[in-house]
């Protein structure tokens, strides 16, 4: 090859760090193609295909509306209950899917890991992208719902990508951490659905953060998804729902911590993946 000098390198025990971040860039095409593969494969051999990305959140929303809105009659801070629920369901579903997929991604790609070299970080990152695509599709439903209820968005909606980014880092950080544990301890395969289910109850998906008693609020804000979900609602309702900077700053700190710990732990364990997977 013409630029052979670029490919000179040394393999040495415990010194892969230097190439790693450069390799991550060099292997970006593999990242695109793995994300594309996961998206392409997701709805293969299903009859209604991509419609699943619409039906699942829609059905969940209807159940929530019936149970929390109609039966339990929880307050929805003055916006239509379906929009209230759906605005929260979007980031939560994204987080739950992205986290679960990223956590299992290393194991489901074990044949790749044991046969080819590439920065392993690509695999969980690519699987989070798949959930982002599902998110985009469900977002269209939200727009349709808003049109149905004649609910006009405001400029607040422009802040939405920021909250999505927070959700992205939250799921990737937690996903990286659990994925590396999962390689060695398969118990996490059973723990992940449990975390996701529990998370739904401690996050303001079916209810509003305003019903949480004041003395527990700081504790409640430690769940980083609280601010992401509240932020989503706030952006969609045009600032009409509860959202404050305390929860946002706590959430950003927790997510940053999660993400850093996730990446550092992943990098530490990464070298031994092949030997234990």
């Amino acid at each position: 090859m013409k630029n052979q000098e670029n490919f000179q390198f040394t393999i040495e025990a415990g010194k892969s760090e230097r190439h790693y971040w450069m390799d991550l860039w060099r292997y970006r095409e593999l990242f695109y193609i793995l994300a594309w593969r996961d998206i392409a494969v997701r709805y293969k051999q299903t009859i209604i295909g991509l419609l699943w990305a619409i039906i699942r959140p829609l059905l969940t929303m209807i159940i929530f509306v019936v149970v929390f809105g109609k039966i339990a009659k929880l307050p929805s801070e003055g916006i239509p209950y379906p929009i209230f629920v759906f605005a929260a369901l979007l980031p939560w579903t994204f987080f739950a899917n992205a986290f679960a997929d990223a956590s299992n991604s290393l194991i489901s790609n074990s044949n790749l890991i044991s046969k080819v070299y590439f920065p392993r970080l690509i695999i969980p990152a690519a699987s989070v992208i798949v959930s982002a695509v599902d998110f985009m599709i469900s977002f269209i439903i939200l727009l349709a719902l808003m049109a149905w209820y004649h609910y006009l968005p405001s400029w607040y909606l422009l802040t939405l990508p920021l909250f999505l980014l927070l959700g992205f880092f939250a799921s990737l950080g937690a996903g990286l951490f659990v994925a590396s544990l999962n390689v060695k301890y398969r118990d996490f395969r059973f723990i992940i659905p449990f975390i996701v289910q529990l998370g739904l109850y401690i996050s303001p998906v079916g209810f509003s953060s305003t019903i949480v008693p004041e003395q527990y609020q700081l504790f409640y804000y430690l769940n980083p998804m609280v601010a992401v979900i509240d932020g989503f609602r706030w952006a969609i309702s045009g600032g009409n729902t509860a959202f404050n900077t305390t929860e946002l700053s706590i959430s950003i700190s927790v997510i940053t911590l999660f993400f850093l710990v996730g990446v550092i732990y992943f990098r530490k364990i990464e070298k031994t993946f092949v030997d234990v997977i």
Partner: protein, 426 residues
């Protein structure tokens, strides 16, 4: 020519967990069960606590202090028995796993082919898989695009390009996978055993393509195979690994010979258990030798194989026959037998039966010998399944390129005559 790869003092250690043989990974409950087991052992054997700790872990050096250099344009064959460390070495060179200590300098773009069709997704079409597999092997999308037609033509799957590969026959699948790999253009290519699958013709095509690329463009190739024929044909240098260390390196023919003689020292053949002593007629010992009379278990295809069987005769029954049945991994290849003759009963009650399998009959393969001593149609005195095992290696037969494929059970030296058809007399 510069140095393509320089390996300095590479070692790789694995920790073996003895109590967890069944699974590669641990679960929390494993640790819990292990804990309670230890408690039970401790209660029932209160004075032997040291034993418990001994069992848990053991270090295993898959590679130890490996040093070698490969020049650019070399085609290096790596041979060795199972567990010699070949795969570990390839995994380190292709950066899949890290060495425990040591350094490797690599000069050039490296691609490894440790498996055919790595990352192929059954749900995706042939076309999609070409791009996916290409990216996994390290090709850029632009590179795959320019070579796309060539790959499709090479694989001979034009018609099925848009069919999911799960509907492919295994032959088509392998051909497509090879085709992508054969069009890789790294500076250094690492290939592990992959040529063992696929039909003979296609295999030849792939070896040919690899050879062409390596010779004309000065590419370095590292090639692991159990097929000595393929190594002899393709490589210009070889490296022999044994128990994680380099046993020998040099020219291909030298290494293949060395490899074969290496195992000759540590085999003792078949030795009967003590119970056989009480039978009237029994097989006591058996061994394989080469033509010079040295014990051997590895043979080149054009060597004679001598089998010696020692029988004990406590009570002579005339008409007794001894039989050797030869089988390979799949079926019986042939059976040969002879009647035992008692020449002088007074001298000894042991007989030695020797049979020579002519050179150039058994094709390269591992063989197992079943030995029997019996009275035809009446009685079996003694029978030993898989008493001996030998390996025949291809030392450059006409069929070397088709090694590993089913081209027949044996070599037969058939007589051919070719005449112009007009001269034939009916």
């Amino acid at each position: 020519m510069g140095i393509a790869i320089k390996v300095e003092n590479i070692s790789k250690k694995y920790i073996i967990q003895h109590e967890k043989k069944s699974a590669h990974y641990e679960t929390l409950s494993d640790s819990l069960i292990q804990g309670s087991k230890n408690i039970i052992t401790r209660i029932s054997h209160p004075f032997s606590h040291s034993k418990i700790e001994q069992q848990t872990q053991e270090e295993f050096w898959a590679l130890k202090d490996i040093n070698f250099e490969i020049e650019q344009g070399d085609r290096l064959g790596i041979i060795g028995r199972n567990g010699a460390g070949k795969s570990t070495l390839l995994k380190i060179l292709s950066r899949i796993t890290e060495p425990t200590s040591g350094k490797v300098h690599i000069n050039g773009r490296i691609a490894s082919l440790l498996e055919v069709g790595t990352g192929f997704h059954p749900e995706l079409t042939g076309r999609e898989n070409i791009f996916l597999n290409g990216a996994i092997l390290g090709m850029s999308r632009a590179e795959v695009k320019t070579k796309f037609d060539e790959i499709v033509a090479f694989a001979e799957i034009e018609k099925f390009l848009d069919t999911p590969v799960k509907r492919y026959s295994s032959g088509m699948y392998v051909r497509l996978a090879f085709a992508v790999a054969a069009h890789l253009e790294p500076d250094i290519l690492i290939v592990d055993e992959v040529l063992a699958v696929g039909d003979a013709q296609f295999q030849k095509k792939c070896l040919g393509k690899m050879e062409e690329v390596s010779k004309s463009r000065g590419r370095t190739v590292l090639f692991v195979s159990h097929q000595m024929g393929a190594i002899a044909q393709f490589c210009n240098k070889a490296l022999l690994l044994d128990k994680g260390m380099i046993a020998q390196s040099g020219t291909v023919s030298h290494i293949i010979n060395y490899y074969m003689n290496m195992s000759a020292n540590n085999m003792s053949g078949f030795q009967a258990e003590t119970t056989s002593r009480y039978k009237d007629i029994a097989i006591m010992k058996a061994r394989s030798y080469d033509a010079e009379g040295c014990p051997a278990v590895n043979f080149v295809h054009n060597q004679e194989i001598v089998i010696e069987i020692i029988c004990k005769i406590n009570k002579w029954i005339s008409g007794t026959e001894v039989r050797v049945a030869v089988r390979d991994s799949k079926r019986n290849v042939f059976t040969t037998d002879t009647e035992l003759v008692m020449q002088n009963e007074a001298v000894s009650n042991e007989l030695c039966a020797k049979v020579v399998i002519p050179a150039g009959v058994l094709r390269p393969e591992q063989y197992f010998f079943k030995l029997a001593i019996y009275l035809p149609n009446q009685l079996i005195f003694d029978l030993v399944d898989d008493a001996l095992s030998i390996t025949v290696v291809d030392g450059g037969s006409k069929y070397a390129a088709s090694e590993g494929l089913d081209y027949g059970c044996v070599f037969v030296d058939c007589k051919w005559t070719i005449n112009p058809s007009s001269n034939l007399i009916f």
